[in-house]
């Protein structure tokens, strides 16, 4: 989007210029909720349960934590442009999480990891029900956030 479209004519907006479709607010809120739960979950696993985050986990945290704040700011007043700011974070975070999942699954060889010291990223610290690992949870969270952001974009299209 390189120019401001005459938004008022193409899709419903209120007197302040903000979109009035109530679902849009709900979608941004849902994305925020996923980011907030994921961030708190990461903090719980790392700081409370004492699982030291590996290098890849740190990069995923770097992209997940700011989403909580960016998306929250976009809620009051509702600013659909928040999608533009959140998407690069969510997309990059998802790529790192996907890489991590492949690494844990053994599809990418351990020698290709960027980890040289500390906690090896290929190590599985938690496997709930035998397959739910921390990187998998991260990848699912990032995927859900990306899908919500995408659906907001589609819905808000003139």
């Amino acid at each position: 989007m390189t120019h401001q479209p005459p938004a008022r004519d193409s899709h419903p907006t209120g007197s302040t210029g903000a979109p009035t479709d109530p679902t849009l607010w709900g979608l941004v809120f849902a994305a925020w909720l996923v980011a907030a739960v994921s961030s708190l979950g990461a903090l719980f696993l790392g700081e409370v349960m004492g699982f030291a985050p590996c290098v890849l986990c740190w990069y995923q945290r770097i992209f997940m934590f700011p989403l909580v704040f960016v998306l929250a700011v976009g809620l009051f007043p509702l600013d659909i442009k928040v999608v533009r700011y959140a998407f690069p974070l969510a997309a990059t975070g998802w790529l790192i999480a996907a890489y991590h999942v492949l690494l844990v699954a053994g599809i990418i060889p351990e020698s290709a990891t960027p980890c040289t010291q500390g906690v090896p990223c290929g190590q599985v610290q938690v496997a709930w029900f035998g397959f739910v690992t921390i990187p998998l949870l991260s990848a699912v969270s990032f995927a859900v956030i990306n899908l919500i952001l995408l659906s907001i974009t589609l819905r808000n299209r003139p």
């Binding site: 607010w25 809120f29 708190l40 719980f44 929250a72």
Partner: protein, 220 residues
């Protein structure tokens, strides 16, 4: 419900859930640690461990430490101060949890210094000059020797003695006991067999005061 109220409510619920989960988890950990300590009582005190204070002191602090650990160095004077405040009532036993890579060598050097009767001087000197022999979290025994020499350790003799099999056995026994007692961080404290679960100066003092009070009540 308007949006702001919804947002604030959900944020508050998340924060409360988080705090509740932390409290629940720590509670469970505390119980598990107490159970592990009770089950592995014989792992807690070994005759070989260096100890300070009266043998029949009411309160026995067992400390798992790593000479290369900064927090251990910071807590050591604090424990000594508590002992000075209750001169006849507190006994300290030092055990090893050399978690830093290479720390076991320094522990062996320390034990060699002990054979020369220079143990506590050596330990204090190592703590005081940690920055000179720990480089980027890597303890280096070659840099520790000058520190030990300064407190009067015969380092040539100690270099030979630290290779003795009884020192190796003793250190591996401590490492095995630390594992059995679920000591994963240093310093790890046990006060009359009760593990210090929530870590901190105040918590340690509270645990010691608790035991002082409990044993005083028993004695009367």
């Amino acid at each position: 419900m308007n949006r702001k109220a919804l947002f604030i409510t959900v944020a508050a619920v998340l924060a409360a859930l988080f705090a509740g989960a932390v409290a629940l988890y720590q509670n469970q950990q505390a119980e598990a640690a107490a159970r592990a300590a009770a089950k592995n009582k014989e792992s807690l005190v070994r005759f070989h461990s260096p100890s300070l204070g009266k043998a029949d002191a009411r309160v026995h602090i067992v400390e798992f430490l790593d000479p290369a650990c900064e927090t251990c160095g910071a807590f050591y004077p604090f424990v000594k101060k508590m002992m000075a405040e209750h001169p006849d009532d507190i006994r300290l036993s030092v055990r090893y949890a050399p978690f830093h890579q290479g720390s076991d060598e320094v522990v062996k050097a320390l034990e060699a210094a002990r054979k020369q009767g220079k143990y506590w001087e050596a330990l204090e000197a190592l703590f005081a000059s940690q920055s000179t022999w720990v480089e980027n979290h890597r303890p280096r025994v070659d840099l520790a020797w000058p520190v030990l020499a300064r407190v009067g350790v015969d380092t040539d003799k100690a270099r030979q003695e630290m290779q003795s099999p009884d020192i190796a056995r003793f250190v591996s026994q401590d490492v095995a006991d630390a594992k059995a007692l679920d000591v994963t961080k240093t310093p790890g404290y046990f006060v009359n067999g009760r593990p210090l679960v929530s870590f901190g100066y105040d918590q340690l003092r509270e645990l010691v005061n608790d035991e002082l009070a409990a044993t005083a009540a028993k004695r009367q």
